[in-house]
Subunit: 204 residues, 2 copies
């Protein structure tokens, strides 16, 4: 079976990208990262990619901060298609994916979100979870649709929120689980182990 | 230390009431249930109460199905006060608590909800969780405020949602945790172990 070809979109330091790189190098995930694209010049994710000789590109997202203009998104699609990407992995990508990407990669874009969706979609969610006072939070890998963190859920992990937690300690606890479940979700998709019923993602 | 005096409001079979009765009888919870009130004649909760010689009352909730008219709610308050209730426990009580009760028992009304709030407030939430496709659900004990399932969270428990779950099997898995955490929340309050910071409920 050919390795699944992954393309990453990331805006930040890229720790989830690194976790997937590590899993591949350890022989635990049969995948190839064919390109990493960032809207942020010199983002950590790009540095990590270049360190691993993975083609890395900056495609500036345009004026708006949380979405991408259609012509720019089409350039992203072109880049992904040039690298024959089969599965697009968002990893700390801070812009909402719009029509051009969604149409080019239907049910082939996944995202990892640091909360137990549908609780706490959007930004700064570890802080929101702390302030709300939940006793469990976690992380979610889901297919990307036109909403914000609303697509069908592939895997979740739950972690306790402790009385003495700060936003930082909770974020670290969640991040450890993110690193585990993102590769697990990619593995399930690569091995064609999942199917969708309604909006439930089932493992066969 | 005197036993904390509990009053239950329930509309259904009263399995959470029974779990608290069991904990008290096993010497695991230092509390006394002084009355059980239901808006539904012959509700299972009333039958269980009478079996244990706990004063049990039907106070019909009035025309609306999901809320209680103010004069009726005042009758409930009177009944609770007559029985010197210190903590009001909602257990499958299908009406929204309004001003008369909230004012009479500020931060002294708790509820148990079969989902990991703030996900899935309201009714039929096990089914909603199944249909949404979450991989974890659970239950929440929270203080009751003027919203629907929005008050500060005392305890939560998380349970996995499995691929072969039905609404029924998931409900049973959640119910087992409900029976555990409701008594635990009452124990924390009885022992004055909690304090509220913002909307976070912390255990001291």
């Amino acid at each position: 079976m050919a390795k699944i070809r992954l393309g990453f979109l990331a805006s930040g330091r890229g720790s989830n990208l690194q976790a997937v790189i590590d899993q591949i190098q350890q022989g635990l995930l049969d995948a190839e990262i064919t390109c990493v694209i960032s809207d942020v010049e010199n983002a950590g994710a790009l540095v990590r990619a270049r360190d691993e000789n993975i083609p890395a590109f900056t495609i500036s997202g345009g004026a708006a901060k949380t979405k991408t203009e259609p012509d720019i998104e089409r350039r992203i699609v072109e880049c992904l298609e040039e690298h024959q990407v089969e599965l697009v992995c968002l990893a700390g990508y801070m812009r909402i994916v719009k029509e051009a990407l969604l149409k080019a990669f239907p049910l082939r874009i996944i995202n990892i979100h640091p909360a137990l969706l549908p609780s706490f979609p959007g930004l700064n969610v570890q802080k929101k979870a702390m302030n709300y006072g939940v006793k469990f939070s976690g992380c979610t890998v889901h297919f990307v649709d036109e909403g914000t963190d609303t697509g069908p859920i592939i895997i979740q992990a739950a972690v306790p929120v402790k009385d003495d937690d700060t936003e930082e300690t909770l974020s670290i606890r969640i991040l450890n689980e993110e690193h585990r479940i993102y590769s697990e979700a990619i593995r399930l998709i690569a091995n064609k182990k999942i199917h969708i019923q309604g909006r439930r993602v089932l493992t066969s």
